[in-house]
Symmetry: C2
Subunit: 253 residues, 2 copies
């Protein structure tokens, strides 16, 4: 629309740079994703059979097969073997677990500064706590209370404590009622499981830290149970930042 054919910054000499040649399976993946993003393919729709898709995209059948493998691994498609109308490859609704897996790998490998991760957690979990407190019921409270009680077991070691701790934060995220926010919260907490565990093992006085953390969990639970979203959010932020400060080795990973 604004392209008038003239370019003021064209260089005076031709320039030759290596051209990236995408491999067949990458082209197939991009083609499937384009159809999904444009809305032409939605959950439950079948992909054309391998032979037909290869012919239409003008790539090898091996390229189609590899692309489908990749898309399967990401939860974008699922394949049913056998014959009949249910056989074939279909667009799938990506499970929350796929996002958790991907995001925790991303956090593990992308070298985000730990403060960015902590700030992202604070943002997400403040939001979850506020929402959870705003529509709390008995079943939700029970789901938050179960991991809280699990952390009360005397002499609990770092690892089972950390698992119950994760479950506690995840339960509040699930109680938010916002599936997308919950998925992101769970993924980031999951990405911190191992670094937190390593840091916990290096804390000199674990029983003392454990009882401090558990006291903070209890006050968050009480605020959610009382329906006080603002207090729940503030206590959650204080708890996350205090835990980070108490686990200085966390920043060294």
């Amino acid at each position: 629309m604004s392209d008038n054919g003239a370019s003021t910054d064209s260089p005076s000499a031709p320039q030759w740079r290596p051209v990236a040649r995408p491999r067949s399976h990458e082209l197939v993946i991009a083609a499937v994703e384009d159809q999904i993003m444009s809305g032409a393919l939605t959950v439950g729709d079948p992909l054309p059979p391998e032979r037909e898709l290869a012919a239409r995209l003008e790539v090898s059948r091996a390229g189609v097969r590899e692309a489908i493998r990749v898309l399967e691994a990401q939860g974008v498609v699922r394949s049913n073997v056998g014959a009949g109308p249910l056989a074939g490859t279909f667009i799938a609704s990506m499970p929350s677990a796929a996002l958790t897996r991907f995001l925790r790998l991303h956090v593990a490998l992308s070298n985000f500064p730990m403060t960015d991760i902590i700030d992202a957690r604070v943002m997400l979990e403040r939001n979850s706590a506020t929402l959870a407190a705003s529509h709390v019921d008995a079943a939700t409270l029970a789901s938050i209370h179960t991991p809280l009680a699990a952390m009360d077991v005397p002499e609990l070691g770092c690892e089972p404590f950390n698992d119950a701790d994760t479950d506690f934060h995840v339960a509040i995220a699930e109680a938010s009622g916002n599936r997308l926010v919950a998925d992101m919260t769970v993924a980031i907490r999951a990405s911190l499981r191992e670094p937190i565990l390593r840091a916990m093992r290096r804390v000199p006085d674990w029983p003392s830290l454990r009882s401090t953390l558990q006291h903070q969990h209890q006050t968050i639970y009480d605020a959610v149970a009382a329906g006080d979203g603002e207090r729940a959010a503030d206590l959650t932020e204080r708890h996350i930042r205090a835990a980070f400060d108490a686990l200085p080795a966390l920043g060294d990973d």
Copy 2:
């Protein structure tokens, strides 16, 4: 630890259910991910050669090859062909683009209610606007101003407007200085590109909506430029919710 060998809910008759048999490449992917999450493999580390990895994991070489293809597509590893010390497969730092790609597919396929997506955007972009306003400089302001000016072109159609609109929100997210929050913001905005475009095309009075949206963008820009984070966050929330209300068809996708 709490497993005492007794189970109170074991059924009286044996039950036979199909056992899920993970395929080789899935086992290889899980093995690589476990090493990454435990910290044993980090960015730049080589994977063992295909033959050796297959032998150690007791799977076929084809399984290893397929797993590496999947991990490559996700940006978890990259492979260098040829010989010498630089050849082979290495753990890569997943690029932000990989998260954007994954998250927008996830949002497109997971059937999140549109209100969940809008609420997640509000949370993320309030946060970004606050942070952007807190450490604004000339270069950052210029990066936000460029797409703002692009939207001022008279008679701009839906698609170029929507692209500049995305760029405007992305520039504020980048200016937040929190890479993880920015990545999530960009991914969610990217996932909405097509649905927003489809909804825009159905708006009866596009020039009027366009000028309303552009006025809102201008006030957000002014608040960020003035360093007023609270005002920038409030205006951003109002803008996102107003745009959603003005694009009622958005909820129908």
